[in-house]
Amino acid sequence: MKKIINDPTTVVQEALAGLAAAHADLLKVSYDPMFIARADAPISGQVALVSGGGSGHEPLHGGFVGAGMLAAACPGAIFTSPTPDQVIAAAQAVDGGAGVLLIVKNYTGDVLNFETAAELAEAEGISVATVVVDDDVAVKDSTWTAGRRGVGGTVLLEKIAGAAAARGDDLDSVAAIATRVNDQVRSMGMALTPCTVPHSGEPSFTLADDEMEMGVGIHGEPGRERMKLTSADEIVATLLDSIVEDLPFQSGDKTLLFVNGMGGTPLVELYLAYNSARKYLAERGIEVSRSLVGNYITSLEMQGCSITLLKLDDEFTQLWDAPVHTAALRWGV
């Protein structure tokens, strides 16, 4: 295992200390229990978005804490969901009296821990709503699975719901918008290489030099299918076929196209994949009116990419364009 770390057991704490030092103007970090909160929280009268999940997906979620996006993020150990006490402490720290929206990626661990937290927070008198993100079309949503995973759509949802909260919407409205984003967004990812969790030291799976993992998760879980490595155009087509047919996206739809890197894939490949995706969508009359390209929801050093497509309406577009000031996403300020 080759990593720039000191001790596998303190990776998350040390990285958080770095985040806090680099962005002292934006956020503050609590170490026990562990959470990242807006420096200016609580914002009185404003709905507070609290998300979280396993670490190793940076910049998600801590890099999205700030004006116009998350009020707080609760990082678990690498690839392990946070514990309820983190979520409760974060909710208490950022609740401005207008309530807290918990944004949970649909993994059993995250769901169960946030569920427990929600019960306890309610008991503390905080009004809580929860939205579970499950946009990964690689997983068939059926009685045969724990349901779709929350992946790239989470980034877009946190931005759009965050803008709704910043604009002053109440808890129900912010939750409704978040739910609507989740309804309108679909994603799928693939990996060229596995990743290695520091405390385990072993790659999460093994791939031959000519293999790729299609429909991979963001925790180094193997994906839907192992395939021979092929061209960018074919990879993008495989991902978009599943995404487009699922919603379905149709000719004339306005969309936000998000090409995300898994952490170890260079930008040049992501823009190349984005170009390939644009051609695919243009052939089907699907319009791309907003875009995001980069490493935003990652799996440590895994090489690969995911594509997320969100069907836009005027409100989503306005909220996407609204100012945001976080470590990883910033515009309009």
């Binding site: 678990g76 150990a77 392990t80 514990t83 169960l112 821990n113 427990t116 724990a146 879980e221």
Partner: protein, 218 residues
């Protein structure tokens, strides 16, 4: 013979040791069909439990189990944190303020724990989760108690029930938890959680047998 708060504490310490011993193996199983952290998750949790036990006074078996529950919930994370936590919490509640537990109370507590896991995780038997080990464990314990078995007999029955339940889940396709994402690729692998609860019950059984033997000698 019955079991006291002290023997429950001793039992939990033994469980912690067993979990830590099997950490690498449990994480390896989880790498096969999950995300490779089950061993670390439980080891982290039970290490914290032992530390808490060293510094907290726990007058009753129920108090011990409640401390275990809250500690696991606030340290494990992952799916197994709330599930193990709920199990111990329900067991604690079923013990109430009792100073000691007899075989029947142990069975009732175990049943409550299993029901708690099912209620939280909504898994059914055959979904290839820890539930596949827990339900047969509770049933085997019940019959052992009905046959007049001692705490040691009851826990031994539970451990054997869990072991065979976990084994019978190996060929199955996971329908809950991370492993379910693998679909058919999850078949033929042992479920990490079913394995860890089996180790947990085996450790309790061995401990109880030891205590019983000791008691006879004295």
């Amino acid at each position: 013979m019955t079991c006291t708060a002290d023997s429950v504490v001793a039992a939990i310490r033994a469980v912690a040791q067993v979990v830590i011993e099997h950490k690498a193996e449990l994480s390896h199983l989880d790498r096969e069909i999950g995300d490779g952290d089950h061993g670390e998750n439980l080891a982290k949790g039970f290490t914290a439990v032992v530390a808490k036990l060293d510094t907290t006074s726990t007058p009753t078996p129920g108090a011990v189990l409640k401390l275990v529950a809250t500690t696991l919930i606030s340290t494990v994370g992952g799916a197994s944190g709330p599930l193990f936590g709920t199990a111990f919490l329900r067991a604690a509640t079923s013990c109430g303020d009792a100073q000691t537990l007899d075989a029947d109370q142990v069975v009732v507590a175990l049943k409550a724990a299993v029901d708690g896991v099912v209620a939280r995780g909504k898994a059914e038997i055959g979904d290839k989760t820890m539930v596949d080990a827990l339900i047969p464990a509770a049933e085997a314990a019940r019959s052992a108690a009905d046959a007049g078995g001692s705490i040691a007999d009851v826990l031994t029955a539970a451990a054997n029930g869990a072991e065979s339940g976990a084994a019978s889940a190996i060929p199955l396709r996971a329908r809950k938890g991370r492993a379910s994402y693998l679909g058919e690729r999850s078949m033929g692998h042992a479920d990490p959680g079913a394995t860890s609860v089996t180790y947990l019950l085996q450790s309790l059984a061995v401990g109880a047998a030891g205590t019983a033997a000791a008691a006879v000698e004295s």
